[in-house]
Symmetry: C2
Subunit: 244 residues, 2 copies
DNA sequence: GGGTATTTGTTCGTATGTATT
DNA sequence: TAATACATACGAACAAATACC
């Protein structure tokens, strides 16, 4: 009666890798369903007959792959596959969430009026130093953070925007107050990277789960730039869909 | 004369984190220029007055962030910042690379004719089991791998596609042989994740650098689906730009 | 609310294997 | 071949966060 799961020592493949592959198989096979708690490090090191460090190396790999979530003092859990969709181009955040039947919220983290720096000015098509309004927001769907964003607007065109946004909680609704019935996405740049400390905290993700970083330009019916936005999306919770 | 760099012990911040932050600062400040070799783990553990394991933990963090490249037996080097751009929507790979003045190559890794599985069939708008041609490709810009892709085509419409692609090395040029002068992108889905083993190898990236995974549908002038493509892009080398 | 047990996180030490130069 | 440098693995101890009573 050996409770150990046999690993091949001295073969070409590291023990920690054999362990992570065994656990990955078990997770994919449903031995540990989504949300389930995994055995503790101590129990696993007992089961596999290795040092706790070796188990920890394997767990780090699984966390990196997004298969498990680890919390100090709590334990290790099979990652809850959270799916979500979003749309590009001409759609709005609240509209999107409504289509997905999700409770939407756009939280205002911070706001300021600043002088446009070089890159911001170029995207907004104003001269550097022109006053711009910056709104830092965090979006939620069903209570889970989806994205962080910094929205930049030409201050001259949108006096009192911050208060209006505080009322409406929506960029689209705020634009409407200024007579902008429609606006469209001129361009979106997408890249991917690992999150910085702020993103990890505010998006509630671990440091090994990538974010999609976007730069977006919105223009009014006349083609004038009304908003430049820098966003980062929790890639585990969202997929960007561009239709054209 | 203490050659140690002072760390604060017993403060709230782990030693390995202080070390990775110190090295990150040095790299960003140009103390270690891109491509430069970093001191060995032994030298760093001496400098910071910690165990080599603690240095290794810090190095793992920097590698995860993409700041350094580590190779067994060789040493540790500051990551060479490779930049590249790409475009979305109605443009073509070779056209893109020409605009960026980069040497483009689309390498055929594998090809096969298969029966369409459920998801593939749905996207290609054919019934499941219909024969489809699959082309697995790898794209390069200036010799560096940019992306991997699996392209699916309805086999009935494109007899002999594989040989034609082998000749032309281009999807667009192959389509032209079948009388398709133009085709457009109907939809693109974008997500981000960490690369699997195959992607790590073929894209020549480490396991901590994210890839952008895309699903794309191309249609001809009549709106019929001519191609469904699954790609993964090395996010360190490319940025996706969607214009609309 | 508070103390205790549990569980993961950090750090040290040591030994040996493997890839590169 | 020898030296160097990173990779893996074991053991021990304490810290920090959480859960439980």
């Amino acid at each position: 009666m050996n409770s150990h799961t046999s690993l091949s020592r001295g073969a070409g493949v590291a023990l920690w890798r054999q362990i992570s592959e065994a656990l990955e198989r078990e997770i994919r096979d449903g031995v540990h369903p989504a949300g389930a708690r995994l055995p503790t490090e101590a129990e696993l090191s007992e089961r596999f007959g290795v040092n706790r460090h070796t188990v920890r190396r394997a767990m780090a790999e699984l966390e990196e792959q997004g298969l498990i979530d680890v919390t100090q003092g709590r334990g290790t859990f099979v990652h809850l596959g959270a799916i979500a969709y979003l749309i590009g181009r001409r759609t709005r955040f609240h509209e999107n969430m409504r289509r997905e039947n999700r409770a939407a919220r756009l939280e205002l983290l911070e706001s300021a009026t600043e002088q446009a720096s070089g890159p911001i000015a170029r995207e907004l098509e104003v001269t550097a130093g022109t006053p711009v309004i910056r709104l830092d927001t965090r979006s939620h769907a069903d209570g889970l953070p989806l994205s962080l964003a910094s929205h930049y607007f030409p201050a001259a065109r949108f006096p009192g925007l911050v208060e209006i946004f505080r009322e409406t909680g929506s960029v689209t609704a705020s634009f409407a107050r200024f007579g902008i019935a429609d606006y469209t996405r001129r361009r979106t740049r997408v890249s991917a990277r690992l999150p910085d400390a702020r993103e990890q905290r505010l998006l509630e993700i671990t440091r090994t789960r990538p974010v999609m970083a976007t730069e977006a330009i919105n223009v009014d019916a006349e083609g004038a730039v009304v908003e430049f936005g820098l966003s980062s999306f929790a890639s585990d919770r969202i997929q960007l869909v561009f239709e054209g």
